[in-house]
């Protein structure tokens, strides 16, 4: 791992803020975020990601997009299947808990995704360009692309992949739970499937991502220019504040690690690594850039903690939040942010030969 990648992940303010948040809970600091601030930051991140993704999609072609799009759906459909079977077979979890955890690992985390983008933007800033050329100018793209894995360049439509991958895994996991025998017997307890579908697509994260993807797409460059001073320029600063809060929550949850047992801890670390590998390979196979493939890997590796918990509470009310939240928030999320990003970048280097 070279210095830039290391800086881009570990020494960037975002990651350090996350660690500070964890430390704050360890020293029992009275620092806490108002819940409204958390909600506000979440709305901001989802709107900003969606809007930028929509704008970038409006300047992409269908030819570039369809293969990665299918790959993303494929990941979303398959990941929960194998996760479910591993959790049932080796983890000895019951149907609802296995399905709920599988839903979380198949779906995606917008914050991990944002960190991955910021990571690549930082790499990009370190590429040597012809004098006077700025790394975010359009003329720089060929140079960034030429720099391969180290160039930090990625396809503009990545936020669309995030959006695409949010829902399918949750659906698949719920269907698995419903068709399994145990669950059927108590199915009268559960919300009807149509209700679950509505809940999923009307869920705040899907609605904001999809909605602003559409808004960004429709209002295009002119729209983007009007709102980018709020949704683009200060984005990484906001992410820093958000990760401080994420650290506080993760820190408070560390105590739950004992409750969930060693299997889930291992699962929450090994599966993301595996999924990242699969994602990067799939990305390469689809002809994506090294950066794009890495980010697809990050999406596969990340576990949801906004959309999936909300859906599981409605569709699988008997699943234990302690299990699925601890796995996604206290294990996989910090692992991806702190260790995962540079690791997956390193995988991409090996795979693409950067």
């Amino acid at each position: 791992m070279d210095n830039h990648a290391l800086f881009a992940s570990l020494l960037a303010p975002m990651c350090l803020a996350f660690i500070l948040g964890v430390v704050a809970t360890r020293v029992k600091s009275d620092l806490k975020f108002p819940e409204e601030l958390y909600t506000t930051l979440t709305i901001y991140l989802l709107v900003a990601i969606g809007m930028k993704g929509g704008y970038k999609l409006s300047i992409s072609t269908f030819a570039e997009f369809w293969r990665p799009g299918l790959a993303a759906i494929g990941l979303g459909v398959c990941i929960p299947v194998w996760c479910y079977f591993l959790l049932r077979k080796f983890g000895k979890f019951d149907v609802v808990n296995a399905a709920a955890i599988a839903a979380h690992f198949g779906s995606v985390s917008a914050v991990t995704f944002s960190e991955a983008l910021a990571f690549h933007d930082t790499l990009r800033a370190a590429v040597t360009l012809p004098a006077g050329m700025k790394f975010d100018a359009p003329e720089a793209i060929p140079f960034l692309k030429a720099a391969g894995v180290a160039g930090g360049w990625y396809e503009g439509f990545m936020p669309s992949l995030l959006t695409i991958m949010e829902v399918p895994a949750i659906l698949v996991a719920i269907i698995i739970a419903r068709i399994s025998h145990e669950e059927r017997s108590v199915s009268s307890d559960n919300a009807p499937f149509s209700e679950v579908l509505r809940e999923l697509f009307a869920g705040k994260s899907t609605l904001l991502l999809l909605g602003f993807l559409a808004i960004g797409f429709v209002s295009g460059k002119r729209g983007w220019e009007q709102v980018s001073p709020l949704f683009d320029v200060p984005f990484r600063g906001v992410l820093t504040i958000f990760l401080l809060e994420a650290g506080l929550v993760t820190g408070r949850r560390l105590g739950d690690l004992k409750k969930v047992g060693p299997f889930l801890v291992g699962f929450g670390i090994i599966m993301p690594i595996l999924h990242a590998l699969i994602g990067i390979l799939l990305g390469k196979w689809c002809g994506m850039s090294p950066g794009g493939a890495t980010i697809l890997g990050v999406l596969a590796a990340s576990a949801s903690y906004i959309a999936a918990p909300a859906a599981c509470r409605v569709a699988l009310p008997k699943a234990s939040p302690t299990l699925f939240l601890t796995a996604s928030l206290a294990i996989t999320f910090p692992f991806n942010i702190v260790v995962g990003l540079p690791l997956y970048h390193y995988f991409a280097k090996l795979i693409y030969g950067g």
Binding site: A310, P321, L329
Partner: protein
Amino acid sequence: MQTMPMKLVTIIAEDELEPRLTDDVKKLGAHGYSVGKVRGEGMHGARLSEWEGENIRIETIVPDTVADQIMAHLAERYFPHFAVVAYISNIEVLRGGKFA
């Protein structure tokens, strides 16, 4: 001032349930309700931040019979599946007609 006895039903539940619960209490005969935000801990673990989801606390002033119906309804539809706690207290109000 002549006060009248009335029941106060307090329901603590996951915030996702708010629209359903307020609809239900209105259908069962409550003429009004108030909702506040709370955090909490219980059998279903901690709900102490937005990440874990938070709770709401619904209060509704109703006559005895409505109070019983609300409790029965909660026991049937919500207690088995959701993190819901409910209790009844005796209170005194003016303008009893407003709540009956």
